[in-house]
Each structure stands twice: as structure tokens, then as C-alpha cells.
Amino acid sequence: MDTFAALSQGLMVALQPINLLFAFVGVMLGTAVGVLPGIGPALTVALLLPITFKLDPAGSLIMFAGIYYGGMYGGSTASILLNTPGESSSIVTALEGNKMARAGRGGPALATAAIGSFVAGTIATIGLALVAPTVVDIAISFGPEDYFALMVLAFTTVSAAFGSSVTRGLTSLFIGLSLGLIGIDLQSGQARLSFGIPDLLDGVEVTTLAVALFAIGETLSVVAAGSRADEIIEPVKGSVFMNREDWKRSWKPWLRGTVLGFPIGAMPAGGAEIPTFLSYALEKRLCRKPDEFGNGAIEGVAGPEAANNAAAAGVLVPLLTLGLPTSATAAIMLAGFQQYGLNPGPLLFVSNPDLVWGLIASLFIANGMLLILNLPLVGLWVRLLAIPRPWLYGGILVFATLGTLGANPSLVELGMLLIFGLLGYVLRRYDYPIAPVVVGLILGPLAEQQLRRALAISVGDPTVLFQSPIALALYALSALALFGPLLFFLITGRKAPVGGDED
């Protein structure tokens, strides 16, 4: 294998001072747009394509790699500090991360997110370099029925992990599922729950809902609490950086998150959100202090952050090996390749090895650069929380609406932000968990489409759902997630350690 020779060749290219500069510009831009909800790496790369055309291919691809990974870091920073998920894959991070930040542990939260992203990104990039062809064969073999089984697994594990009251958790989930119905149904082309409003035909944007529920709902709750909530947010309590215990509690979630994120990210319909949900549920199950979940458990930041970055590298597997763009960013990267007359596809590794390896090498560089840039900044970032509350929350609302407006300057979109913000306030006020609403919006349509695809291909024969070994294995895992605690109780006679309250 000359993989390592090719990779080191790529590293040599990426390490040239001018390319390092491109990487730096890329990660800075990526972080900046990652912080803004609604505006992500895909949009940024798309807008920069015409400008970067004047650069050489290596330089601009290195910059794109920087933007790509930078967006992930920016998304989690906003989630943790401002409770404003910048990207849909960093929604889960906000759950525990923001709780930690409010308890003066924003430093460790940001650090575990940064180091976890680095670890996961590095391992996943190595995976991309070494096992991409194998992984992609497995990923391609996933049919709609297998994806449906994966969604079932996500539903069962995730709903077990949110909140202690079944009625309340399910209520939130069903509100999310209802919102997921809005818009044109992909399979039949029929408009659902749109009431003749054209702006609703494209459905509810995940980031719009998440930002409204988290950031605006939270702002309304805090302002309504008035003097009750008047404790000052302490930006730093204890160490700014991770202590020994934080390390001990973080490293396993990082690895588990990577293992979940990379393969699911590589699947053409996997995405980066599902692994973060699964990782959160898994960490909650495995955590020794489950009652900390909901109050700022570091595992709940470390795992999902690792999963999300590993998935980001996983997305590049089908892109580089088959030329399949399976995410918005990948589609734009493909356009970037085409701009230089390259045809990504099964032949890219053979026809343009220098470029592919240059890109993989620049992913390493971007990842390392982000870690080096972000860790010293942690102390500075958490100072954001020392901003007096009126300005902090004013700024959060400006940010939240800015991101939405940048991607879609529509008043209806702003109206949705307001309505869902009120929904978030009501849910908080009456102790309903927030996260299942977003989960329902993301997973509901996916599950429905995959099920209907499977049944349409089989011309209505439902047995197709239980014929594939992959699907059966996933159903077995779901059953374990549902009934595992019960079995545990029956066998050992003591109650399984289940998660505590969420929010």
C-alpha cells in the first residue's frame, strides 16, 4: 500500500505556508458562519466558489476543508455558550453543554467539544483514508427498509433518554412529528398542513425550530422569571480547562461517538443528526451519574460532538469513492471539484490521487489548526457569558434572527421563529422537555419516507421490512434498548440505572 506515501505527499502540499494561510482563512470563516444558525458551511462554500476559482485547486479545496470543519466547531460553540444551535448537528450539544456553561463549566464543555471533535475528526479521517472503499460498500447496501429500521432504533433509544415522564416526553415528540408533516410530501407531491400558505410548502426548517425553541424560548422564560432568575451567570467556576475527572469521563464518549458517527455519516441517507441523538442516548444509558444528565453532564457534550465530527468525515466517504454527494456541503464540494474539471466518481482516487490525498491531508491540518486556535480561546469565549444579561440576550436574539434572515429573508420565517419561540416558552413553563420536539421533526419525515419507499419498491408487500439481516439486527438492538432495563431488573433484581430528569 502506498497510502501513507500518498498521504505524506498530500501533507507536504497542505503544509506549504500559502496553503496554511488558506486553511487559516477557511477555519476562521467556517467558525464565524458556523456560529450563525441557518448559515452553514454549505452556503458559505457555495458563495465563495466564484471567488476561490482564481486560486489553485489545492488552495481552494484546503480552504473548503477548513470551512467545513470550522463550521462544526462554530456550531458547537454557539450551542454551548448561547444555547443557539448554529447547525442542526449541534442541537444535542446544547442540551448538556449550555447547562454546563450556566454552571460555570463552559470552559470544560468547550474543551471537551474541541478535543472530542479533534479526536473524532482525526480517527474518522484516518478511516476515510484507509477503509473508505469497504465502508462505502456496506453503506450502499443499505436499502430503504434498513434505514427504516435505523429510524426505529433512533426513536426507541432517544425517546427513552429524554425526560422521566412518558406522557410529557411523548407529547413533545408528537408535537415535533406534527410539525414534520408540514409541507409537500416527497412521495406523492401533495401539500400537507400548509393551509394554502406557499411559504409552508417547503416545511419547517430544522435550524429555525431549534433556534426558536432553544434560544428564543429560553430568552422568554428568563425574562418572564424576572427577579426569580436573577442569579448572575458565573462564567468560570473552578478550572477553565478540563480537570482530571473531566478527562476520565470524556475519552470513552469520544471514541464511542466516533464509532457511531463515521459509519452513519458514510451512509447516503444517514446524516449527521442521527448519530448525535444515538450518542446522547447511549451516554446517558452508560453514565455512572445519570442524574447529572439534564444538569450538565460532560458525557452528553463529549459523545455527540465526537459523533458529529466523525459523521462530517464519513460524508466524504461516498463523495470521494463514488462521487455521491450525500449532504448539502458534499454537493457543494462536488461543484468545487467540477469547477476544476475533475469528475468525482469511482475513478477520482485513480485519476487524481494528489488532489484526493491533498484534501484528506488538509482535513487533518484544518482539524489540528482548529484545536490549536480554539483551546486558547476557550477562556475568552466563556467571558461572553459575563456580558450583562440585557445585552447578552439582546445579542442572542439578534444572532438568532440574523442567521434565519441570511438564509431566507422571509417574514414568514421570522414569524415561525416567534411562534415556535412562544411554544418553547410554554413547554418550559409546564415542564415539557424541548429536545423531543426537534427529534420528532428530524426523524419523523425520514422514517416515513423510508418506510414508504420500501413498501413502494416491494409493491405493498410488508414482509420486505423483515427480510434484510441488517434491518433485523437493528430491530434487535431497538428491542434491547426498550426492554433492556426490564431484563436487567428481572435478572439482577435491582432497578436498572435509568436517566434522571431532563430540564
Binding site: 407529547t171 408528537f174 408533516l181 418572564a224 439582546g394 429573508p409 417574514l411 414508504r452
Partner: protein, 160 residues
Amino acid sequence: MSDPTPTSARRPDKAGFVIAFGLAALALVVGWDAWRLASVNAHSAVGPAAFPTIIAAGLAALAVATAVEALRAGPVDRPRDEMGPMAWVLAGLVGQIALLPFLGFSIATGWLFAATAKGFGRGPVWAHFLAGTVMCFIIYVIFAKGLQLSLPAGPIERLI
């Protein structure tokens, strides 16, 4: 999660009932839409109405469960929310939507900033409005020049 505090007087939790009612209403809307879709066309095994029907049924069941729980729990003591400050923040958000098409991004969002700050007890509104507008104008310029994205423009933005 707040502890339900059962009292001797068997009065139900009013908020719980309102929520149950809301869920029932949502179930009706989703169910009605599903019914409408079911009559449109069905030449596939599972049509567009199947999932809405399941979701509507689930919402209806949850409405009943919520009502039952409200009945059992009795009144819950929730701290009073302060409506004044909240009204300021809401006025900020609504005002932004109303001002945006006429006065552009900077002024509308400057108002949002000022109203939110006022809601959190920091005035004067006009000073915050000015500061917010300047800040948002800088953001507008960065977006327009750096990203080539045009945010809604108003009189100030047209100056550049």
C-alpha cells in the same frame, strides 16, 4: 420537573386541561388534513395520509392522558411569570417583523435589540436602539460585501 403537590381539595390542574385541549385541537387539525388527503389519491401502498392518521391518533391519546394526569395531580403551584418584561421582548420580535419590509434590517433589528434590553431592565430604549442599529448596519455591510448575501434593505442600507 416540579413535584405535583396533591392537596385535599380535589381541584384539577387548570393548565393541564388547557394543554390537553390544545393537544386535542392539534389532533383534530392533523386528522382533518389526513382525511382530506385520503380522498385525494391513493395509488401507492402507503399514501400521504397514513402517517398523519397515526400521529393524529397519538395526539388524541396524549390529550386524554394529559387530562387524566391533570385531574389526578391537582393544582400545581407555579411561580408567577412577569408579563411586563416578557411583553417587551415580544414587542421586540413582533416589531422586527413589522419594521423589516419598510425600514430594513438595521433599524428593525436595532429595535429588537433595544426592546430586549429594556425587557431585561436596561434602558434607555433610544440609546440601545441607536447602538443596536449601528451594530446591525455593520453586520449588514459584512454580509453584503463579504458573503454577497443581501439582507432586507431599508433607507440606511440603500445609502451604500
